[in-house]
């Protein structure tokens, strides 16, 4: 194998681009791998091709991406798009797939900036055609200008509901309803955290502006919704839910759901990094220090793949990790790193002040996380229901990995990405233990499927894009 790269960054979203620009600017030999054909990550998908009207439609947050992409492109970092990472070892060995060619490359330092995923949350009818993730729908709008034509209901929790409703409204889509499933009592908890959040008040004013615009347009936002159910024979025909103690039915062909974001932890899990349960975000996340260093030497993780902080926080964390990479590779010393880090550390801290407020406002009730009905599918790949998971626990398989062995839940092509958290929650509840004590599915490479032919032609060596 040829000489390892100094720094390989996985992901060209806000965090990865900022880290690459910073590190390359300080002389670090940097290679950025990204699954997409163009830089920007999910948040800035399609920004390179976006014309002025599209930029205007998507709003100012999206527009900020153009500048970040430009600075990344001119940073001097090598950039390899269309590249999937299917394995990552604790020793910095990466298995990658680029245009049908699989290879192993090695890095002295790996920075994971792979971002978040939408929290998968099984509910009755969630697998019906016509039900899809709101984040996925937003990406279709960003990258392909695809929007639902015949009315849409947006349901779940989190700021994305409001943002997407606002973007759809501006694109002329008929938004039938926006349903917030966070319980009303969350308002109390969030209220306590409001004063601190006011330090990052621009997020609040923007959110309120979107809400006002929706109200003026007559789009109803309903809070305190529960018992969400998608109904239909071969595809979605209607949805039912409870609010104010009454069941309501809405006829719709499109239900977009979103239950917040969780860090995508497949890569850090594969590398053997230590993870911890984050009770505020209700998910596992990799343990990382202020510079992004994980528990494994030479592997760092930043952005929404480390902890959900959003695109602005990701940029600051990216710069900090870029500085740390330059220090680790001997291009600057610790004092130099600390000097250059002052502003970003402060801005990062300021930006994150909104988080405790948002987390308590959009906190999911246990009924949604672990109270999944017995006949609801949990694992779409292997068609395993919540009831089958509970039956496995009753038969003595008292952790998610044993449940996986006996039921095949999580053994399908998605590698347990979709069902892993739900299974952990169900198993923990069935064993009467906190989910933080449960060991989630162990990750088995390849993290993305590769073909037998591709593995049989595996190449070793560092290509330089």
């Amino acid at each position: 194998m040829s000489a390892p790269r100094e720094l390989v960054i996985i992901g060209a979203g806000p965090a990865g681009m900022a880290a690459a620009s910073t590190a390359a600017g300080l002389g670090v030999d940097t290679l950025v791998l990204d699954q997409q054909p163009a830089p920007g990550g999910q948040i800035f998908r399609g920004i390179g091709q976006a014309g002025p009207a599209h930029l205007e439609l998507l709003g100012s947050d999206y527009q900020a991406g153009a500048e970040q992409v430009a600075s990344f492109v001119h940073s001097g970092a090598d950039y390899q798009p269309d590249t999937a990472v299917w394995s990552l070892g604790a020793d910095g060995e990466l298995g990658i797939l680029h245009r049908g060619k699989a290879s192993l490359i090695s890095a002295r330092r790996v920075l994971i900036a792979g971002g978040a995923m939408e929290r998968p949350l099984p509910f009755p009818g969630w697998t019906l055609p016509g039900v899809m993730n709101a984040g996925g729908a937003q990406i279709l709008m960003k990258s392909s200008r695809l929007v639902p034509l015949d009315g849409v209901v947006i349901a779940g929790t989190g700021p994305l509901l409001i943002l997407l409703a606002w973007q759809y409204m501006r694109a002329g889509v008929a938004v039938q309803a926006v349903l917030e499933l966070a319980p009303r009592k969350n308002l109390w908890r969030a209220g306590l955290r409001l004063p601190a959040a006011l330090r990052a008040g621009h997020y609040l004013t923007r959110g309120l502006r979107y809400l006002l615009a929706l109200r003026r347009a007559g789009i109803r936002v309903t809070y305190g919704v529960s018992d969400l159910q998608a109904v239909g024979n071969d595809r979605l025909e209607a949805m039912t839910f409870h609010t104010g103690g009454r069941e309501q039915t809405l006829e719709t062909g499109n239900l977009l759901v979103h239950f917040g974001l969780v860090p995508g932890i497949q890569l850090t899990e594969a590398a053997g990094c230590h993870h911890q349960w984050d009770d505020g975000q209700q998910c596992w996340r990799p343990q990382a220090d202020a510079w992004g260093n994980s528990s494994v030497d030479g592997i760092a993780v930043i952005g929404d793949g480390a902890t959900i902080g959003g695109a602005v926080a990701a940029v600051h964390a990216g710069r900090l990790a870029g500085l740390e990479a330059a220090r680790a590779m001997g291009h600057i010393d610790a004092a130099g790193r600390d000097r250059l880090a002052v502003d970003d550390r402060q801005w990062l801290q300021d930006d994150l002040r909104i988080r405790p407020f948002l987390e308590s406002l959009h906190r999911l009730p246990d009924t949604l996380l672990s109270g999944i009905a017995d006949n609801t599918l949990v694992c779409r790949c292997e068609e395993i229901t919540a009831g089958e998971v509970r039956a496995a626990v009753r038969a003595g398989h008292r952790d998610p990995n044993q449940v996986k062995f006996i039921t095949r839940c999580g053994m399908g092509p998605c590698q347990g990405r979709q069902c892993g958290q739900a299974v952990a929650n169900i198993v923990a509840a069935a064993c009467d233990r906190p989910v933080s004590e449960v060991v989630p599915f162990r990750v088995r490479p390849p993290l993305r499927p590769i073909s037998m032919g591709e593995l049989s032609m595996l190449e070793t060596g560092n290509n330089t894009a």
Partner: protein, 375 residues
């Protein structure tokens, strides 16, 4: 005394021993440091194979085959057994000569299960095989099962007969207490006059605690599985000159093993796939089954296992103190033997001898005489 027998290791061997002992009325405690089947027992390739066994193992493999054929009556579950045969393919005349010599040797020992099949018979059995092969060694009543299901069935049946599994109980110390062995774990202790070591990759440490140190290796054979494919294969396929075991499971996925070893770390008890070696397996697959080129690999893994220097297991009484019995070191081909190993252990413990020939599996062949702690 808490039990008649304490078994260390809740994998297949330990669970089989527990079941056979409980069937004969023994009170058994199984100490398991993780959960049953966490390592080799739960994640092996599940091959049921009499084919191409070392001569010393043939009597055990044949006896085990009879038990697998009727596994339902032993454990109340079919363990997803599919007896669709195993073939060992010859890719050229030199391979074929080796296989013919092998078949003759086995016949000379008085066994009829391994037969030579010609090219035409081979392609009838394995129609998707690449066209260059010339024949094979074949066992009709071999096949495969699902290891974790088998293990669970053994465990459930053992539990139904009163066996106690103590999971999350790692053994720290073993001490003699009068006529009993006292086993101290991080979740309490227990004692019994008979101790059985079925601790797989951790057997070397166990043997040291028991004062009879042996030198064995640990390794983690790698496996991979594809997405579901339309049915194309019944028997398990291996090859005379390749490290490969290739089978299509009942659900359509294709499971590929082949004894290539992962990197592993006994301190953290973890494995790391060696993709360079795994790509050799993939190369074998596409050379023997060209249509597999586009199949997607969904998962790869490896399970920690003990390998002895001669790749034959240790089965039998300890060499040191009374009341110790071993069954470990199956060197990645123990799955087939598991039902009979428990039977042998129960016979040794309760009858003082086994009906099956286990002389070649004595622990004495590996003992470091200078280091034994026996009095």
């Amino acid at each position: 005394m808490n039990a008649d027998v304490v078994i260390i290791g809740g994998g297949l061997m330990g669970s089989s021993a527990a079941l056979h002992l409980a069937m004969r009325g023994q009170r058994v405690i199984v100490m398991e440091k993780d959960s049953p089947g966490r390592h080799a027992s739960g994640v092996n390739a599940g091959g049921l194979r009499q084919l191409n066994r070392h001569p010393a193992e043939i009597p055990l493999a044949v006896a085990a085959a009879r038990l697998w054929r009727d596994i339902q009556s032993l454990v109340d579950s079919d363990c997803d057994v599919k007896l669709s045969g195993q073939v060992r393919v010859a890719e050229n005349e030199a391979d074929m000569r080796l296989l013919e010599e092998r078949a003759a040797r086995v016949r000379a020992l008085g066994y009829e299960h391994e037969i030579i099949i010609d090219r035409e018979q081979l392609y009838r059995l394995v129609p998707h095989l690449a066209p260059h092969c010339v024949g094979a060694l074949y066992t009709r009543d071999d096949g495969f099962a699902r290891p974790f299901h088998a293990l669970t069935a053994f465990r459930h049946k053992a539990e139904s007969l009163g066996v106690q599994y103590r999971t999350g109980s790692r053994v720290h110390e073993i001490a003699r207490q009068g006529a009993d062995w006292q086993v101290v774990t991080d979740r309490g202790c227990c004692s019994a006059p008979v101790l059985v070591n079925c601790s797989g990759a951790w057997s070397q440490a166990l043997c040291s605690m028991l004062g009879e140190p042996v030198t064995i290796n640990t390794g983690a054979p790698m496996m991979m599985v594809t997405d579901r494919l339309p049915h194309f294969l019944d028997p398990v396929v291996g090859a005379a000159s390749r490290k490969l075991s290739f089978k299509q499971m009942q659900n359509g996925t294709v499971l590929i093993g082949g004894s290539h070893l992962a990197n592993h770390d006994m301190k953290t008890e973890t494995t790391a796939i060696d993709f360079i070696k795994l790509s050799e397996s993939a190369r074998s697959v596409v050379e023997l089954f060209p249509h597999m080129r586009d199949a997607h690999i969904v998962r790869t893994w490896a399970g920690l296992e003990a390998f002895t220097p001669d790749h034959l297991p240790v089965i039998g009484p300890g060499s040191c103190a009374a009341g110790v019995f071993h069954a470990f070191g199956f060197s990645a081909h123990g799955f087939q033997l598991s039902p009979v190993v428990g039977l042998i252990l129960s016979e040794l413990i309760l009858d003082g001898k086994s009906k099956l020939p286990i002389g070649p599996f004595s622990i004495k062949r590996f003992l470091d005489e200078t280091a034994t702690g026996c009095a």
